[in-house]
Amino acid sequence: MITLKEAMKLHKSDIAHLRDDLKKEIEKKKEIGAYVEQLTNKNISEYMDGIPIAIKDNIQVNGWEVTSGSSILQGYIAPYNATVINNLLHSGFAPFGRTNMDEFAMGSSTENSFYGVTKNPHDYSRVPGGSSGGSAAAVAAGIAIAALGSDTGGSIRQPASFCGCVGMKPTYGKVSRYGLGAYSSSLDQIGPITQNVEDAAILYDVIAGHDFHDSTSANIAHKKVSDFLSPDRKMTIAVIENYLQEANDDVREKMLDGIKALESAGHKIIYKNFINTKYDIATYYIIATAEASANLSRYDGVRYGNRAQSGNLKDMYLNSRSYGFGEEVKRRILLGTFVLSSGYYDAYYIKAQKARHLIKHQYEEIFKEADLIFAPVAPTPAFEFGSKKDPLEMYLSDAYTISLNLAGLPGISIPLGKNIKGLPIGGQLIAKAYGEQELFDGALSLERELKGEIG
């Protein structure tokens, strides 16, 4: 597949050809189910001309059916563009196809989609990760040049790692959330999923910047990172040692390769420890579900989407939401409702906010000594469909990714290689807030070093 950078050099007519070829390829590789259109036997969604970018099904595109992978939004047509979509259009890109996802971005395997599962292009018996599984699978399968995803607790980085592509989560506030179907407002960020680091930087530059419509958007001028990429810059990189030890053998082995590559690229490696991930997970699942419980209240069957048959108001709410939401979504709404209830608010929600500060602080401490942090993305490579029936076990697959969202920091998942079964394994670099330039510089240097070694 042609890279994003290459596609940007194409003439208009070539782009039209590219789009046609892409459609044929998408049709041919229907089995993967990366696009909602592949799963529903529909034509690929398009909006305007331009270099095609695949769009996660929770990002609003004017005139598209945008459903967040949910039954409750079947038939809903978005009447406006998300800010990131307008940004794409301004730069000559165009939304092209809706990628599959876990319902309302709640999940780590894309198994929680109303439309069915997306297969991992490297092994059809395995999940592509989630919740942006469709975006990552589309890029990895060569049926998207690049894609947008959203990352609340690892939903870009983890599927990128599982599928062997690059996935980047920007600093909280760098990319407007306006038009992103909200899961957890204080954690959500839209970001790029691409074939390589440079493409990720290019796409990040296109979507980043202050937006009046998002009050949490950072009111600072965006300085392009893709014009200043310098992989030769030497940095101090902190490896999270306890994560390394906890991860499974395949992941540890690839992480050690990554560390070697960073060292041979001239970076200084230091070793640090993080608090036990069980605190990250507890904190995340309290804050994310609390916010989600309110964010998803608007799906009530009153104004749009699916309204269940019922004889009175109470039943309308009850039935619409009972039938409209999947199990995982309902589980998280219930959990979020519980932690905000009077009598529990202090014990859970307030305590989680305090823990969030501690997690942020622990990053700040490391960044006093290091420019970047290097950690595994997920404890294991892609797992098989249906292998994580216990929701708590599924939550563990976010263990290394969620603390970064809690701290609001930018991170990027880079392929480190494959295990013996041919499953990709990614590692993530993390930078301090607004440190995207360092992040991409470090990522590019790692990518170059690894490609040199592999190739």
């Binding site: 809903y76 406006y80 407002s185 949490t216 309110a294 209240s297 009530d300 104004r303």
Partner: protein
Amino acid sequence: MFEVVIGLEVHTQLNTKTKIFCSCPTSFGDEPNTNVCPVCLALPGALPVLNIEAVKKAIAFGTAINATVHKKSIFNRKNYFYPDLPKGYQISQFEIPIVEGGEIVIDFEDGSKKTIGVTRAHLEEDAGKNTHQGSVSHVDLNRAGTPLLEIVSEPDMRSADEAIRYLKKLHAIVRYLDISDANMQEGSFRCDVNISIRPKGDKKLYTRAEIKNLNSFRFIQKAIEYEIERQSSAWEDGIYEQEVVQETRLFDTAKGITKSMRSKEDSAEYRYFPDPDLLPVIIPDDMMEECKKIPELPDAKKIRLIKEFGLKEYDAAVITNTVEMARFFEDMIERGANAKLSTVWLSVELPGRFHDGMTLLTSPVNSEKLASLVKRIQDSTISGKAAKDVLDYLMKNDVNVDEAIDKLGLKQVSDDGAIQEIIDKIIAANSDKVEEYKNGKDKLFGFFVGQVMKASRGKANPAKVNELLKKQLG
């Protein structure tokens, strides 16, 4: 034997041009669901952006009631489901409201005063409106997202009368500040009443009922009176515990009674938490300074009118009661009308001619016309009596004051010669009375004035008539 304890929650719509979290207009009475956008419809992905104008108005209010205006306040989500609440939560302020701890002074006819505490005032968004037609219900979201200032009083009022006085004073303050239209019929000034009773002398607060759906001062009065009666009877009948529970009651305007709406068991659990879509509101120092410069308020204006123009306390109170009347009055003064004459013509004569719900704002005689009329009395062009006819005419005809005077032929005769001519005629025709007067029957002076005025068909300048008659009769 019982003491009534009343606290009031007033929701006043702030008169910003656009809604509190989006740029939709706040206009009233448009086609349903026309003033809406992704934000106030709560479409997926839409986010709120605070309208700073609402914050400015809240600062002005806090300043007016001598309260603390918090430099930093926080918006929370108040969660509940209702079809007129698009997001399934209302954005409101909870732990840290923008305004806290103020006071409003109410006045009584005998000149005494009472200070009512204001616990807090916070910003929030209004909901839409549900309408029901048989088995079908409709939702109009034009109003959803209109900024509200919820003003919560301390339980400091002890009668319906005090509650009404508090509300009227509060109403006057928000109108003087021009932060709200405060139109009760249109729902831009709404009041919930919290009411309980207790044996006189008891300091404890007993169970309170909250009465909603009160859109006029008269209904508020009636509802409070009904509720006092209901609670006291229950106490006297020994069924207080069963009858009086913490609940929301609706006032039935047709029957004049309050009815239970929600019982305690259903009492809402709102699960407030800080809205992660909005940053804390931090008021910059210069904005705080700017917004604390507020116009003169009713009490200060009243004192000034008494001092500056020598108005009587009662008249000054009437004039300053509403901002419309105060503005009307001040405009008349600015145009050169005499203050005392203006007071009478503005507070008695003009309103006495209003019909069919006419107000100062819709009156065909505006401040400019009424000032001209008063000035024509001042400069003796017309008599006060004739001015009443002129005003009658002006209420029905769109002409200026001088045109009306001409049209009615009421121009006062002040010319000495013309008046003298009439006086001569009257004296000639009443030589007997002249004799009686000269013999000491002083009262007859009035008779001569009357005769002259009558002969002039009311147009003779009474002062001149008096003067010339005195000269003539000695």
